[in-house]
């Protein structure tokens, strides 16, 4: 007799997502820097911004309201529409 159990999981099919190709150069790119609101993340991002600007990239800064929650959907949409690259900074 076949025994059958019910799947307790979310049954989300796993979608394999390809990474974007690595950009050939930074010049002309719009790079979003996302501060997750942990202490000293801004110090790290300030230094990254200097290096990116020197390399010819345009930089836009973003900040999550709190590191404890996922970024609000509006913020994610804003970054996706305004930037070609994004760097999310962890911190501490």
């Amino acid at each position: 007799m076949t025994r059958t159990l019910l799947d307790p999981s979310s049954e989300r099919s796993v979608l394999h997502r390809e990474r974007l190709a690595r950009p050939a150069q930074l010049r002309g790119q719009v790079v979003g820097l996302l501060d997750i609101s942990k202490p000293r993340g801004d110090i790290y991002l300030d230094r990254l911004e200097e290096l990116l600007v020197e390399a010819g990239a345009q930089v836009r800064r973003y900040k999550k309201p709190t590191f404890t929650k996922p970024a609000p959907v509006d913020l994610r949409h804003e970054i996706a529409t305004q930037c070609t690259l994004v760097i999310e900074a962890l911190a501490d």
């Binding site: 025994r3 159990l5 019910l6 799947d7 307790p8 999981s9 979310s10 996922p70």
Partner: protein
Amino acid sequence: MSQPGAPALPDGLVVVVKRECETCRMVAPLLSEFATAVYSQDDPAFPEGIAVVHDHDLSVSWHHDIETVPTVIRVVDGVEVDRIIGWSREQWQRFTGIAVLGDDLPPFRPGCGSLSVDPDRVDALRAAFAGHTLKARRIELAELDDEMELMFERGFTDGLPVVPPTEERVLRMLQGTSRAADEIVAVVPPDLVEVTVEKVAINAVMAGCKPEYLPWVIAALEAVCSDAFNIHGVLATTMPVGPVIVCNGPGTRAIGMNSEGNALGQGNRANLTIGRAVQLVVRNIGGGRPGEVDRATHGNPGKISFCFAEREHDSPITSLSVSRGFSPAANTVTVFAGEGPRCIVDQKVRTAPELATVFAACLRTLHNPKLVLAFDAILVIGPEHARVLADDGWDRERLLTELHARLQLPGSELVWGAGGIADGVPTHLHDATLPKFRPDGILVVHAGGGAGLFSAMIGGWANGEMGSQPVTKEVVP
């Protein structure tokens, strides 16, 4: 009175009987006088001398909710309009319009249980006739598969064995709620997946719940998945916290929860499995697993399950749920992002002020004696300590006022480096006075056994809007 997909009944008066029922045998000779169809649950040759439909798979009985035999159903245009059960001479005469029906029989005989509600058969019947209503993906086991091992291999368990979720068990679990199986209960972080009542029931079966616990599991999940509680952050933090579930209301006793000796420990099915079911949903639906989004440095054993009831029946203080605005008659769950409990011992204490002082001294040490305002706490007052408060006429509000007064701390003791301890508050607060807790940061609960001048404290996680806030939800049957 009938289930979807029920076999049609012919118009007229339809009777359902079984031979093993003495009342059915008594009324059998009468049926030819009025019945348009007779269904026999057990013996196709019963009653003798009339045409009988054998309800061999009990499909007719199950779909038409036959609980007692004999049952007589009046069917008009294919639809049931009325039914009577058992034998009542006066009722049968009126129902059939035959004034002398069964005049020689006793006036009343109760019927017998229908085979379709026989406890040994009902789960299999429900699975056979309603199993297709369950939407979850099926996992077929090969002949040699061990179902317990399979659940581990698929990553569905919390490290302990789970009850395999068969259709029979899940359908039985769903009997515990009035909600539809496909109703959405919550959106579960971190994967932000909608969880249905059915999926909650599957995980509740695995946790070991009884059907009557299911509404408590659902209410706790609604609370845990709220933005205010923030289970995403509670999972992702490196701190050792998980949902601590405090249950209130008369329903806690009705389902057999423990609020007395060892209430925070092992040994009570309701306490342990309600909390476990919530965590299994977070794991299996939300994807909140240790080593993935759950980044706890140590965790704590309560992350398997931490759920208990408040001891209300002899408590001298207002219950947690009433203090949070609910009626004493309401059944509620309050969820709190908490670590494991720590004992507060004072066996010499005889006055309320002394008790408040020792509570405050212990609460001050929460997470770090020099960290203030960042964390809430639950104070679980044992009955012997509560008696000390009651003897001095202190209620919840008085206790909280006195605790907060004792937890106003001088900045000089709290600044970075003070007392040889690096952590603390910024140096510019040296001359300030700072409270250990925010004004509503101490939750008071009465629980525990009758012996022992002990209480317990449960430390929280980052509080406020950016962290986790306690959330109370009413349990809906």
